[in-house]
Amino acid sequence: MNTDPLKKKWANAIQSIADLSKGDPIHVDPLEKRWAYVILAIAGLFVAIIMIDALVHNINPPSHVETIDSARLHLSKEFAEDNLGVQVDDNGNVTVRIVAGRYGFYPKQVTVPSGTPLKFRWVSMDVLHGIHLPMTNMNTMILPGYVAELKTDFPKPGNYPLLCNEYCGMGHDHMWGSITVVAKEHWSAPVKIASKGDSNHE
């Protein structure tokens, strides 16, 4: 880009700001000026709270930029059909993998512990979907071609409907499953048995 005009414009800008002192001053009512400070303070307060939570307490929206070939999900290792659902690694970290496809969630139902950090990894096998668990912050868009990863926890045990909250076609209303949240102490990690996938196939 040719920067000469840019320089000139800025020169003009600075000049015209200088002009202010010569020409009649901008008319501002003293109360209007005070109001401007008030709204700056309010906006500043909100921004400060959000910033501190984001940078210090790591409270952020799902923003895990990761691509995946949605057409080959079922052939991938991570989203192979018997690798879905709840998994606990050796350090006890809980990961939930769910595939969204018109018009359902696979698996349709999962059970997770309350008050425990959970990592959800959502993928779409076809179009745009969204996911929301009412009364929780489990809310993300699911785009084909991307993995929507979100870390959250559910303070209150209960049975939550798993709603598709992004228009995905004529069956959108019917696209739902459920997540059961049980008290941490009553929850036991699901034992993964290959015969599950096995029975699916023989």
Partner: protein
């Protein structure tokens, strides 16, 4: 419509809008309170997100 002399008019026109100031201040403080309630009373209790 009340009858005002010219200097009364000028006085009104050039006086600061104190009613507006109080009104806006009240409304905005109400909004701040409501926002803080939603943030700390509804959003955060629904579970950490990151």
């Amino acid at each position: 419509m009340s009858q005002l002399s010219e200097e009364e008019r000028q006085k009104i026109i050039n006086s600061s809008p104190i009613g507006t100031w109080v009104l806006m201040l009240t409304v905005s403080l109400g909004m701040v309170a409501a926002w803080l309630f939603l943030y700390y009373g509804v959003f955060l209790p629904r579970g950490a997100i990151g």
